[in-house]
């Protein structure tokens, strides 16, 4: 068997452009490839890849494999697996980087088990062991209460990487790379899980991932109404968005789409205001990348105060309205 070489990024598109996770994977992959003195490739799959191939090169890829097929318009495991597996068998990469996204969570375990290799999901840090050329893989475990370092001698080494954990390179149009036209036929008769319908349940207003300010409510909020009044008023004032930890989402106080945490969205706004959030590690896993965390909680022992930069101890029903009013005054003056 030929020696496995190079790093392959399984890219994703969002509205026809390179998804931000893919630019992050290319940034990380570029460094690993340079350390190995090997190539960085990027697989892009869609019904139409278009200008995203050029973008991938500008963000660091040496080679882009653009696979276009009507069946790849949206992610469906059985179709995508065919494309990824065929390319992997063709180019035999040393390592495969996939985003810890909706797609990556579904695709990566299938791929690793199919290829008979190992997988480390949700990595925060990756580096190359110079002696063995193995990927040193660091990921959080126990809901974020510890971190573990894994290695595996099996190739290809498959990992998924947490969103916003890696930095993309600057977009550079002068970077050289090659777009490799890649024809892969997808046998749609092999699709076993049929997508009958895709329903958008988007919250109105600013998207959580893009919001510079997030006001997040926790279990202590106690019901759905304050999310639409007290918290929303504060978020609107700061041109931000309202999010929640897991209990409000589980209890149906807010839609699942605004759940922030290990199994929800990972966000990194400038300002994160955690209100009545206890700060379990599973939640802070989703917001610890925020620039400034501010906590309001009636329990002075709440873990969120270990994460926060500023805090107020008190019942949110009393603290938040006064905070919002004073902010209004300060912002007006």
């Amino acid at each position: 068997m030929a020696e496995n070489k190079g790093i392959l990024v399984c890219g994703e598109l969002a509205n026809g452009k390179l998804a931000s996770i893919t630019t992050e994977l290319l940034g990380c992959g570029r460094k690993l490839a340079d350390d190995l003195k090997e190539d960085l490739s990027c697989l892009l799959t869609s019904d139409s890849v278009g200008g995203a191939s050029k973008e991938a090169i500008a963000f660091g890829a040496d080679k882009v494999y653009a696979v276009e097929h009507p069946a790849l318009k949206e992610y469906q495991a059985d179709s995508y697996m065919q494309a990824v597996e065929k390319l992997v068998n063709e180019i035999s990469p040393r390592a495969i980087l996939i985003g810890q996204t909706s797609m990556g969570r579904d695709l990566a375990p299938r791929l690793a088990f199919k290829l008979g290799t190992s997988l480390t999901t949700d990595c925060l840090d990756l580096s190359i062991d110079p002696a063995t050329k193995l990927l040193i893989q660091t990921r959080p475990v126990y809901g974020g209460n510890a971190q573990a370092v894994f290695t595996s001698e099996l190739v290809p080494q498959v990992v998924t990487v947490r969103t916003k954990a890696m930095s993309p390179l600057g977009h550079d149009d002068s970077r050289k790379g090659e777009v490799v036209p890649t024809k892969i036929d997808i046998d749609t008769s092999k699709v076993r899980a049929k997508i009958l319908e895709t329903v958008k349940e988007e919250a109105v207003g600013i998207k959580l991932e893009d919001a510079p300010v997030i006001v997040c409510g926790g279990r202590g909020i106690g019901g759905s109404e304050p999310f639409q009044t007290t918290l929303k008023e504060l978020a609107d004032l700061l041109h931000g968005a309202v999010g929640a930890s897991r209990p409000p989402a589980d209890n149906g106080w807010v839609p699942e789409a605004v759940h922030i945490g290990l199994t929800g969205k990972i966000v990194a706004p400038d300002i994160y205001i955690a209100i009545a959030v206890s700060g379990a590690s599973q939640h802070t896993a989703g917001c610890s990348g925020s620039k400034h965390i501010i906590a309001i909680n009636k329990d002075p022992e709440a873990n969120i105060f270990r994460e926060a930069e500023f805090g107020v101890v008190g019942k949110y029903e009393e603290v938040v309205p006064a905070f919002t009013n004073k902010l209004k005054e300060l912002l007006a003056g």
Binding site: R105, L119, T121, K194, K200, E202, I296
Partner: protein
């Protein structure tokens, strides 16, 4: 049509325990004895998904778990809430596995069980959080899998699944047998009633050793790993929170606004 279901459950240290009690000693997570084990939160959702189907269509639920030193009262919750059978793959050799050795052993046990329509798993364990085992089992058994289910309905040998995606959900249809991986949103696991607790108390779990599923001890648990755990550690976090005071909570709230302006965060 009654539905034959298998639910994979894991016994884990209570993930809701305060972060401060999680301590790594000699590359191992150690927890004080007052932190009780529980069935992982996502496996509880998986159990609830199966129970909802049993409520409407009828059928049988076999709970399957792999590990060692199971606390009977904890793992028997799967029976108390309405499960029909409990199989424990319980042996020292099963300890210290990774996603591969765990999925492989569970898949071998499921082959031994033989007949099933749906295998339910949680989206990720509440300790290692890897999120691989369910899809691994499906891949080994060669059956279709649907992830992140928040609603499951069975009709005419097919399952219709609401699958959570970042900005909404998909409706996915899959022919049975299939493996379905459950996330929150399915609804919290029901409380066991007295009758359930009594029945569970009388019922003995079936115990399987590696040999019972056709595997050598060297193929399971730590010996069967594909990835090596080199280090377990806890990054040091410095607490640096500035608590803003006030005569009343409201005053503290107003003072917070002033302090944020001072710090040029606004």
């Amino acid at each position: 049509m009654p539905v034959n279901m298998i639910v994979c459950c894991k016994q884990v240290p209570d993930p809701e325990a305060p972060p401060a009690v999680f301590k790594v000693v000699n590359n191992q997570m150690t927890l004080p004895p007052d932190v009780k084990p529980v069935i992982g939160q996502y496996e509880e959702f998986a159990l609830e998904a199966a129970l909802k189907i049993k409520d409407t269509a009828g059928g049988k639920i076999t709970a399957l778990s792999l590990g060692n030193n199971f606390v009977r009262d904890v793992i028997k919750k799967a029976l108390a809430v309405g499960g029909d059978e409990l199989i424990l793959m319980e042996d020292e050799a099963f300890e210290g596995g990774d996603s591969w050795s765990t999925a492989n052993a569970l898949a071998m046990a499921i082959k031994k069980i033989g007949e099933y329509d749906i295998i339910f798993c949680g989206r990720q364990s509440s300790d290692w959080d890897a999120g691989q085992v369910g899809l691994g089992i499906a891949e080994i058994l060669g059956i279709p899998a649907v992830t992140l289910a928040r609603k499951v309905e069975v009709t005419d040998g097919k399952a219709k699944v609401e699958r959570v995606i970042p900005d909404g959900y998909q409706v996915v249809e899959v022919t049975l047998p299939a493996l379905i991986i459950v996330t929150s949103g399915i609804g919290a696991l029901r409380y066991p009633n007295l009758k359930g607790i009594m029945a569970a108390g009388k019922k003995q779990p079936i115990i399987w050793k590696p040999a019972d599923i056709g595997l050598e001890p060297s193929q399971v648990g730590a010996a069967g790993r594909r990835s090596k755990l080199d280090k377990l550690f806890q990054p040091v976090k410095e607490a640096k929170c500035e608590i803003i005071e006030g005569e009343t909570p409201a005053e503290a709230g107003a003072n917070l606004a002033v302090r944020l302006k001072e710090a040029k965060l606004l």
